[in-house]
């Protein structure tokens, strides 16, 4: 069963539209040159709302850590149990973190610190979301 789908709003729409084009973008505050993810209405550092833009990123990262879900409260994910939930640091900025089920990696066999590459996965309502696969 595909994952649940995210619903875009005014702030996040550019992000989810880019995902549907198989591009990963991250919000950037041009005033303080600070990336932020998830996107927000204002820069959480300087408070600016007028100089928020988007930057394409390469799609490479590193596994920061993980856990293994055995008993999720999310019904659509329960048939996958157990499954990894990994936290991936973006190569361009390790402070930026994404969640991933690490397709191709067995539960609890997660190589913390390993490099990962971006791919996209279709969710239940058709929206694509970023996923990450351990690089060979």
């Amino acid at each position: 069963m595909p994952k649940p789908s995210p619903i875009a709003d005014a702030v996040s729409k550019p992000f989810w539209d880019a995902c549907n084009e198989r591009r990963l973008i991250v919000q950037v505050c041009e005033t303080c040159n600070r990336m932020q993810y998830p996107p927000e209405k204002t820069c959480l550092a300087c408070g600016s709302s007028e100089h928020l833009g988007w930057r394409d990123v390469k799609g490479r990262g590193k596994i920061h850590g993980y856990c293994v879900m055995y008993d999720s409260r999310v019904r659509l994910l329960q048939e996958r149990q157990p499954f990894n939930i990994a936290i991936v640091e973006l190569e361009e900025n390790p402070e930026i973190k994404f969640f991933s089920h690490l397709p191709g990696t067995a539960p609890d066999k997660v190589p913390v610190g390993a490099a990962v590459n971006l791919e996209f996965e279709e969710t239940v309502m058709g929206q694509l979301v970023p996923e990450w696969r351990v690089a060979n």
């Binding site: 789908s5 920061h64 856990c67 055995y70 409260r73 999310v74 930026i96 973190k97 969640f99 239940v124």
Partner: protein, 427 residues
Amino acid sequence: MATKDAPASVYRTKEGTGLWEHRGKVAVAGIGQAPCIRHWDGADLGTSVGALTITAAQKALDDAGISPDEVDGVVTCPVGMGDTWAPRPYFAPPYDTEDGLSLLTADWLVKNMGLKNVKFTSHGPRCLNTALAVGAQAVGEGKTSTCLVVRGTGNLTGRYHQMEEKTFSGANAFTGPWGWQLIPQIAFGFDQYCRKYNTSHDRMAPFIINQRRNGLLNPEGYYYQHRREVLTVEDYLAARWVCKPMSLLDCDLPIQTAGAFLFTTGARARHMKQKPVYILNHCSQRGVVRSGCETLDETEEWTDHIARMCYEGSGLSAKEIDVFNPYDGFTLFFQYFLEGFQWHGVKRGEAHDFYAGNISVEGPHPLSSSGGNCGNGRTRWWGQRDCIQQLRGKAGYRQVKVKHETAIAGAYTAGYSDWLIYSTSPN
């Protein structure tokens, strides 16, 4: 007019502000606890959140030796801790909305308990500890002189909310599709902790066993009332994973109950029935993650911060804290508080060594004498209640043998928490 949430200015979230301006001038004069039940059957309104809260509130008034007419302020945490009653049809008033069934507003309590002299009401959302901070500040500022602070916690289904959604929106759009919530956050954080400090999940066992032992020494807790099973190390190590490295026995059991605290001025408390327990400080942590999830660095930074604020505002230091009751709603985050506060000198990475020593209520380091949620079922105030009982010398079988003149309790996560510091003396 409906009660509103307290403004952000109420919460003390910054260092460098010195002693709390109302230090020692606010006191706890009464406490009350409703019976604990596993979950509400949806039929007996006498065990609704509303009914249980009135029970707890009346007990707090009886404990203080005052009548409902003397109450002039009410603060509640109006957020339920479980599912809503809807879409099932409601009952006749006053149970014709969620209020009184799955959550409780101050307005509901004032009306249905007949508190006719209340002039101040406020809400401390998200946690009873938030409401306690609001109540303490309100009494300190003179907005109320005799203030009930209460929460009812509901559990309609007997388990945590199951999410049937196919879509997630708002901030949850970035977490829900991956199943990321508080449980995986805490599990991931604990895994990071174990890697950083070269320890393991198994080493949590002594703490969990001790929490359940303390809970079985508390006549008001769920396990004492309904399940008097002694937990063994083998039980803990055999418990199934919920989200590895978090097992079932690292999670608290949802229950339906209510708790109440009666705050008043220090001067007034000295004329009430119980020995006053003075509030030296309240403070709050409101952390914002950098991106996506809370990292171990953020957790440690925030718990260091809350400890510094607690000590600064109260004028106490770590070695002066006798009774220590941080929240254990997931056992796997308790060590961040222990290490952040450096109770009995425990530094980062040393918690599991400390658990392996004598942490019993009879010993020199009576850690979490309340038994917490692990020992009593899911509320967020066993620690607050135990602090007051310990300082009164009325904790029964849980009474610590060491000096018991100061205490700290707070909840609920490293990123969002509210804390109170208590003393038998206002100075």
